[in-house]
Amino acid sequence: MAAAKPKPIARLFAGHAGPVAVLGLALVALWYAGAVWLNADLQIDAFARAGTDWNFTDLVAGTWAQERPLLPAPHQVLAELWRTTVETGIASKRSLVFHGWVTLSSTLLGFAAGALLGILLAVGIVHVRVLEKSLMPWIIASQTIPILAVAPMVIVVLGAIGLKGLVPKSVISTYLCFFPVAIGMVKGLRAPDLLQLDLMRTYSASARQTFFYLRWPTSLPFLFAGLKVAISISLVGAIIAELPTGAQAGLGARLLAGSYYGQTIQIWSALVAAALMAALLVALMGAIERQVARLMGARS
């Protein structure tokens, strides 16, 4: 490709920073507009109740400054985030960092267990016929069980055998996130070329060797696609699991409490925090994926 030095601005846009910034700004603009749109009715009501005269500027300003807006404006969320992260000690129960960490720890534990379980199941399914035939349909069925319905029972049962705190929540995450990994890995472990499998046969390689030398490397693109989905689902699972454990701490508890008391700004700041966390986790998986690909001699 042409090696001419791009201009600084062009260079900015050739990387990730520029496009993300532009689209991010567009998103924020859209969000502000949405806030006006959604909050206008209530604002007009409020003006009417207060009996004040208002013009469009007042309306806009009003919709961006409500205490319980339908959709809080970005700066309100940002202020709340700032207040609950930077201005609050991280050990405090009012700190979003504290709650974020509670959620993150069960996300990561659940994800690690889920990824492992998913991989193990896929390995079993690919290698053992009876597992494939008997287990697969039930794994699928298991995923259609509405988690929030059984979660309380799971928590009660696990609590009765002495498991409390982090583990039950992670179990829920694990349950949700092993599935994309398993599905992707089953496909991936079966993705090697027939010729490449034949080569292994000619060496009379054991199933274990075929697995490590061939199936595993071939499955990596599928694995990483699965892991990216899994880690975000794991986060969702961790948040869901915070409800039946008494919603004591974590982003889920924040969301619930915010929702219960109609504090939309709090909901949105927890939402934004969760989304940022997810994006970071997914980006991290992406970075690991690229690194692995580089080590495996992928063509850039």
Partner: protein, 260 residues
């Protein structure tokens, strides 16, 4: 007489496809003894690869019998009786060339230092010294093919099954490798089964040439040659050589459908 390495009788293989069966092999009889160098030659699609794959237990015959080293092909495969060179290079893209060549050695549990020595030896044999650290996509087509040959040679099997190993190589390299292969065969009493499209190559290398014909795939001629074991490339000008080459060509032509 030397032991039978491959013993095939009445072998047939039919592929079932959506639009009817394909008769890839039909009633094939063939015996290959220890120390022989056997070439399969025949028109494209006549079943050479299929026959080689049946010997290697990569394909199951649908009729007749086959024994490899007196065992079923599967047992022979499990004993790692042979090395196989595929028609396509089949290198693993995530391994560099050296590690592609040492793959079978790793699987067979050879220590690392020895593996690397082997890789070096055979990569040099196929003129790929210096390319150890490259990945397959950084190699030309012919270089990839040579890497896959080095991979099959590296674990020094007694029986070599090679499917058009030199198809993608130029004449000079090909001659060079022909000589190397012959020397190897000579020195080590290996048995080689070799698929080729080149009549001179078949005649030069083989102690037995099997001419095949398509639809259904079958053997139409088996030619035994008796050139001295230590032969050089120069025998290619002898009348004996040309006579055999002519017979092969006639067989091939007979196997072809077209009249022009």
């Amino acid at each position: 007489m030397a032991a039978k390495v491959v013993d095939i009788a009445g072998l047939s293989l039919t592929f079932e496809t959506k639009d009817g069966p394909v008769y890839a092999l039909s009633n094939v009889d063939l015996t290959i003894r220890r120390g022989e160098f056997v070439s399969f030659i025949g028109p494209s699609g006549c079943g050479k690869t299929t026959l080689l794959r049946v010997i290697a237990d990569l394909e199951k015959s649908t009729g007749g019998s086959i024994a490899v080293n007196g065992l079923s092909p599967e047992e022979a495969r499990l004993q790692r009786a042979y090395g196989y060179v595929f028609q396509a290079p089949a290198l693993y893209p995530w391994r560099n060339i050296e590690r592609n060549v040492t793959l079978p050695l790793e699987i067979m549990g050879m220590p690392k230092a020895e593996r690397q020595a082997r890789a070096k030896k055979y990569l040099e044999l196929v003129n790929l010294g210096g390319f150890e650290r490259k990945f397959p996509w950084q190699l030309s087509g012919g270089m990839q093919q040579r890497a896959s040959i080095a991979r099959a040679l590296s674990f020094e099997p007694d029986l070599l099954l090679m499917d058009e190993p030199f198809g993608a190589l130029d004449e000079i390299v090909r001659d060079h490798l022909n000589e190397q292969l012959l020397r190897l065969w000579d020195k080590t009493e290996k048995t080689v089964v070799f698929v080729t499209h080149s009549i001179p190559e078949a005649v030069f290398l083989s102690s037995k040439i099997v001419v095949m014909s398509p639809r259904p795939g079958r053997i139409i001629d088996v030619i035994e040659t008796d050139f001295p074991r230590g032969r050089g490339l120069d025998i290619r000008e002898t009348p004996e050589f040309l006579k055999i080459a002519h017979r092969v060509r006639e067989g091939l032509r007979a196997g072809h459908a077209y009249e022009d």
